[in-house]
């Protein structure tokens, strides 16, 4: 999914059409892709095809793509439509990684400057989110709301959450703050039994900024989003990005690099497919304490029946995109 980088003409056509008199939702154009939604569905059209997704599925995927800034590799909204990040340039595709679409010549791909496409997609997620609906929430949560119906208000706060990115470690002076009831982060109902105690920290005078620790599990048990890794500690370019997971990952994440998971609590089942064809490759079950690495040539989707705590470990080195382009990035993290 990476060999397309910089191979095409960058699209510069972006258009936001007025709200429909019937549904109240705006319609969008990016290059020759067209997007509109009605009470239940989102319709995506391109020059030689159309595709529909349930509004709920589309909005959860769109929210992650926007919040993650296209993330690493491919964000497949479903088996047909998605985006691939080339770090500055982004592919939008339909059918490109679907064997049948590809064989029939019905696939389509266009490239955009990332910041221009992201601007349009942010407007889309803002307009298509109704009052009370939270595309970051698991459907069983009290505050999840429903995506259905005609345009009805908005949920600006929910869709504009800032992804937490600690500079060094959560809880250090001047860095990302720990979560508490008082600053608006109550315990999630499914992680209410996670201990709230903070570590004992005794710093000698002058070392208060260097002798530091925090309760990561309590921090995660207070996350108000699902499937949204946030940086909690940093060793140079090595990022601990833990997250709380419930229900299913709203996208199939197509890797362009190895991606490590450490299951901190409970369990998640993963379906793994070939990145380019979608053919099944493996199933994983990760239980508490399990460590696994997703290879760089797969797409994966997780299923978490109870809200669980997952540590996603990323390498954000600026060398990695160049290694990917040159085919030098390892496909499998460790050979043994």
């Amino acid at each position: 999914m990476n060999e397309m980088a910089n191979s095409g003409t960058l699209q510069s056509h972006f258009k936001i059409n007025p709200a429909s008199n019937e549904t109240g939702y705006k319609a969008y154009e990016a290059g020759s892709f067209k997007f509109k939604r009605d009470e239940y569905f989102v319709e995506i059209a391109w020059p030689n095809g159309t595709h529909r997704m349930a509004a709920d599925d589309f909005m959860r995927a769109l929210m992650r793509d926007v919040a993650w800034g296209f993330f690493y590799g491919t964000i497949a909204f479903d088996e047909v439509f998605g985006t691939t990040n080339h770090y500055g340039i982004v592919d939008m595709f339909a059918g490109t990684y679907h064997e049948v679409y590809k064989a029939a010549g019905r696939d389509h791909l266009e490239q955009f400057r990332a910041e221009e496409l992201l601007k349009l997609m942010k407007d889309m997620v803002e307009d298509w989110t109704n009052e009370g609906y939270d595309p970051f929430a698991a459907p069983g949560e009290a505050g999840a709301g429903v995506p259905w119906g005609r345009k009805n208000g908005d949920n600006h706060d929910a869709v504009n959450r800032i992804r937490v990115t600690a500079e060094r470690m959560v809880g250090l002076p001047g860095d990302a703050v720990i979560r508490t009831d008082d600053n608006g982060y109550p315990k999630n109902r499914m992680l209410a039994d996670v201990a709230e105690d903070q570590p004992l920290v005794e710093a000698e005078p002058g070392f208060e900024k260097e002798v530091a620790a925090f309760n990561l599990y309590d921090y995660l048990s207070r996350s108000d989003v699902t499937w949204n890794p946030s940086v909690c500690s940093v060793v140079k370019e090595s990022l601990f990005c833990p997250t709380s997971e419930e229900f299913s990952l709203p996208v199939e994440h197509g890797n362009d690099r190895c991606e490590w998971f450490v299951q901190l609590s409970d369990h998640i089942a993963w379906d793994v497919k070939d990145r380019d064809t979608g053919r099944p490759r493996a199933k994983l079950v990760m239980r508490a304490g399990d460590v696994a690495c997703m290879p760089a040539d797969i797409r994966h989707r997780g299923y978490s029946p109870k809200r669980s705590m997952l540590l996603v470990w990323e390498n954000a080195s600026p060398r990695v995109p160049e290694m990917i382009q040159k085919g030098e990035a390892p496909v499998v993290a460790v050979q043994f």
Partner: protein, 172 residues
């Protein structure tokens, strides 16, 4: 009272999952379990369970008192089981102990020379900063487990074939 029970692993009670390959090699997933690794480790062996180019995840079985370590960069210790105490000393001359461009944890010969910085006591789920220029030592009265965010260094132990799933597994 919560209606849900959060499931953790521990040295004494862990149930690994695994890889059920459909058309793949399970070794591609480098699948291990931190408690399983720690249960088969010597105290304070730093066994790699994750490798991301030069970056490492190490599992440490915390039991008794560790040697003193230092690194030229930040490291982090996440306690995944038990209670672990950390003592920190600001080295008088850190560059004399470990080269400033070196990577990973290095052993400190004998007692570190410097000012006492403080101590931290971690329980399950707690994460501590181990700053550069400091020497640190762990101690645990009962066996515990640490997960280290660090870089491969002279103390890192690699034995992937022993710790990772290599054969297909039928999952429940």
């Amino acid at each position: 009272m919560s209606d849900y029970t959060t499931v953790y692993g521990s040295l004494n009670d862990f149930t690994p999952g695994g890889v059920d390959p459909i058309n793949d090699d399970p070794k591609n997933y480098v699948f291990s379990n931190v408690f399983d690794v720690a249960s088969r480790s010597q105290p304070y062996e730093r066994v790699a369970v994750g490798k991301n180019l030069e970056y490492a995840l190490e599992v440490v079985r915390a039991e008794g008192e560790s040697p003193w370590y230092t690194a030229a960069h930040d490291e982090f210790a996440l306690c995944m089981d038990g209670q672990v105490e950390i003592h920190l000393v600001k080295l008088d001359d850190p560059d004399a102990v470990v080269a400033p461009d070196s990577e990973g944890a290095h052993l400190v010969d004998g007692m570190p020379e410097g000012r006492k910085m403080g101590r931290i006591v971690l329980n399950r789920g707690h994460q501590a900063l181990l700053p550069p220029g400091a020497a640190y030592r762990f101690s645990a009265e009962s066996p515990g487990v640490l997960l280290m965010q660090t870089i491969f260094g002279p103390c890192t132990v690699e034995r992937w074939a022993e710790i990772c799933q290599s054969e297909p597994m039928k999952l429940d």
